[in-house]
Symmetry: C2
Subunit: 311 residues, 2 copies
């Protein structure tokens, strides 16, 4: 079934701060277009689906944003400009390395004799913080990284379309790396109760409608020349390759990265129209702290370059 995305978007309320965020995206893309940089949109983290308009309860998709934030670092390393479209409070490039720590456990009062007492990072964390701080400051100074956050599915969809439309102007130099865990289901505005659902009413039955697959209009209309990578996460590995191939046939984009929930940090399968390539890490590599996103991104950039050269 063809998706009439214009109709679908008309019933989605325009989210708060949309204009401001859209302006930031357009300016960022224009600037890097002028310089001649390649630009990648990295989406990251899960989307929420509110069950009430004054929201107390919502559905969510499991994702801390590890794949997206780690990949963003690697794209930046290779000179790409990155629009990082991420779930509010999910992992961010560079700072993600300290996300399990309490900030105050990392700090201490400086032990010096000067009168101005300053607060320093404890020695135990200093090397790692130093490495990341250098990279982060450099990237922010060069203007290669744009943070755009979302929380709800509605916000995500509006910002995805805005980013893709903006990337249209740079044609083949754009990549869309759609790693966010986006809900397949939503509750249309007119079917949502206003107030908190009352538990006294007994067991809860929630009915959610299917979100139309927007990868269709994204590839066909919004950013037809871009290099587009979607993700397929399953818990049942027997479904994986079949579902990835079906998606490519249906939406005509370049690649699907297929992964299984439990092993997603060790192995992925990159599926294209003509090939299936497995990327995996050995136990030794995992122990050394090597991240699979480094290998995924290197492979994608080589394929993106190939596509750009062929056009």
């Amino acid at each position: 079934m063809e998706v009439d995305s214009t109709n679908f978007f008309q019933q989605l309320p325009v989210p708060d701060k949309f204009t401001e965020k859209n302006d930031k995206i357009c300016n960022f893309v224009s600037k890097h277009n002028e310089i001649g940089n390649k630009v990648v949109l990295v989406t990251s983290g899960g989307t929420t689906v509110p069950l009430e308009s004054r929201t107390v309860r919502y559905m969510d998709n499991f994702s801390q944003g590890t794949r997206g934030s780690a990949s963003a670092e690697n794209f930046l390393q290779h000179g790409y400009a990155v629009i990082f479209l991420y779930r509010n409070r999910s992992l961010e490039p560079y700072s993600r390395h300290f996300s399990r720590l309490n900030l105050l456990d990392m700090l201490e009062f400086a032990n010096d004799n000067t009168s101005a007492q300053s607060i320093v990072v404890q020695q135990e964390y200093e090397d790692k913080v130093k490495t990341m701080l250098l990279k982060y400051k450099e990237v922010m100074k060069s203007g290669h990284l744009l943070f755009i956050d979302f929380t709800t599915l509605n916000e995500y969809l509006h910002l995805l379309r805005a980013s893709a439309l903006s990337l249209q102007q740079i044609g083949h130099s754009a990549m869309l790396y759609l790693a966010a865990a986006v809900s397949d289901f939503y509750i249309p505005k007119d079917q949502m109760p206003e107030h908190k659902i009352q538990s006294a009413d007994g067991p809860l039955h929630v009915s959610l409608q299917l979100v139309p697959k927007l990868l269709g209009p994204l590839v066909k209309e919004w950013a037809p020349d871009a290099f587009v990578i979607s993700f397929k996460l399953e818990t049942d590995k027997n479904l994986l390759i079949k579902k990835a191939e079906e998606a490519l046939k249906k939406y005509h984009h370049q690649l699907v990265i297929a992964n299984v929930l439990e092993t997603r940090k060790q192995a992925v399968v990159i599926v294209s129209k003509d090939s299936i390539q497995t990327i995996s890490l050995s136990k030794e590599q995992l122990l050394q702290g090597i991240e699979i996103e480094e290998h995924i991104v290197t492979e994608l950039i080589s394929r993106h370059n190939k596509m750009m050269n062929e056009k």
Copy 2:
């Protein structure tokens, strides 16, 4: 309907690391019992309800943990020992003041002439970090604060019961301040699909069962001598006081703190068997950064002391 909590718990799987966490709680309570400290259990943040056993999707309750983490600071300030039972990655006492900041935006390389380059907190944040760091280090050194985290409803319920049972030994010196946003609904293990729900199957219909109200057994059996405060959050203010009074009549605990979603940071109503007291902040107080939890906690401690003296 009386809740047979033993039966209900038998069908809830024992969560990971439960024994380890339970031991920590018991040791903490015993230690403070010996010293003669009052102990409060502060619950904070929302609980998740997985929709699949290999979880990709879940339901969640809106809460960042502001009420719980701010209240914990105030209880510590007044000498209470605090078991902080909180949703993983929600706000924590002291560090919560920096939760909207990217760690790396707060740090810079020290501008000194020594060879050992160190990383310091930027001057703009130094005062606030200093204040919080002092309080945090003092509290951690004195052993007055125990962090116990949960994610799912199941983990929360097991840890709530374990904490209440452990607090039984200190009788009236215990307070339970149940500020977490706990799901009223869950999916029994035998009704949960193993694998990710497939969107190709069409619209999603989720049926959730009511979680039995465990405040009943908590007050009657688990910690019968403790001072117990529950929370009632509604979006419809016309329901609020009525629902608070119903809860007190049903569960026979000491207080319900009633609040409306949109105004919860400005006003709450403390409802007891005999009285209704509104606590609210003026616009000036809000602008000065005064938090309503300071007033709530002061009032609760005074009522807790009164109860202890009467027994």
